[in-house]
Amino acid sequence: MSEPGRCEVRITRRLPAKREEVWAALTDPEAMSRWLDPCCETGFAEGAEVELRGRDGEPVTARVRELQPGRLLELDWETGGDVSVVRFELSGAGDETTLVLDHRRIDARVGMAYAAAWERAVKRLLGSVER
């Protein structure tokens, strides 16, 4: 855990598509409305702000922090006054792309994350999941 009281979820996926295809699907508003949220009318572009629904249907404002076409997309994920960070990183060449999704600085609320034993357990939980 990088910061006390903050958690991280990381997922690694191998996708059967070229990097530019994955990038297009990640950022194009029409594609986003199919995979991310039906309300997406704005795509992820420099400085864009996208309103969508989060984990439990709560409203989320996703603001583009950093964008490197075909490589990196980083968002501020603001919900209920709290801001966490969502990062999509693409790598690989040819017909297969590896996507690493990293949702970090999630407010642990549960301040128990301060404690060492819990921290160890959290680390175990947060290890990246390969599928």
Binding site: I11, P16, E21, W35, R55, A115, A116
Partner: protein, 104 residues
């Protein structure tokens, strides 16, 4: 006060850290603090009341240990985030396959 709020206190947090290294007696714990022994006992009682710490009798002394139950709460809570993203990434994968089929 909720379990999490019980941990807002630095002495209680330190007690939890010490117990994370292994079980300890009240005396053993008190030796790590400037606070009086009853002061430490008071903190231990708060931690017990919130299900964060457990005590067992060992002869004439009481041995304290961490209760892992609240961990499950954090686990559940994070699992919901993981589920959210797993679902979205499944949908992204479907979208990619769809685009591919269309192009063929």
């Amino acid at each position: 006060m909720r379990a999490i709020e019980a941990l807002a206190d630095p002495t209680r947090r330190r007690i939890v850290e010490l117990l994370a290294e292994g079980d300890r007696t009240a005396g053993d714990l008190a030796a790590h603090f400037d606070t009086s022994r009853p002061g430490v006992s008071r903190h231990l009682r708060v931690l017990r009341e919130h299900g964060l710490v457990r005590a067992r009798e060992a002869g004439r002394t009481r041995v304290y240990s961490l209760d892992p139950t609240p961990l499950a709460e954090l686990d559940d809570w994070l699992a919901r985030y993981r589920r959210f993203w797993t679902n979205r990434l499944d949908a992204l994968e479907t979208e990619l396959r769809r685009t591919k089929r269309r192009r063929r």
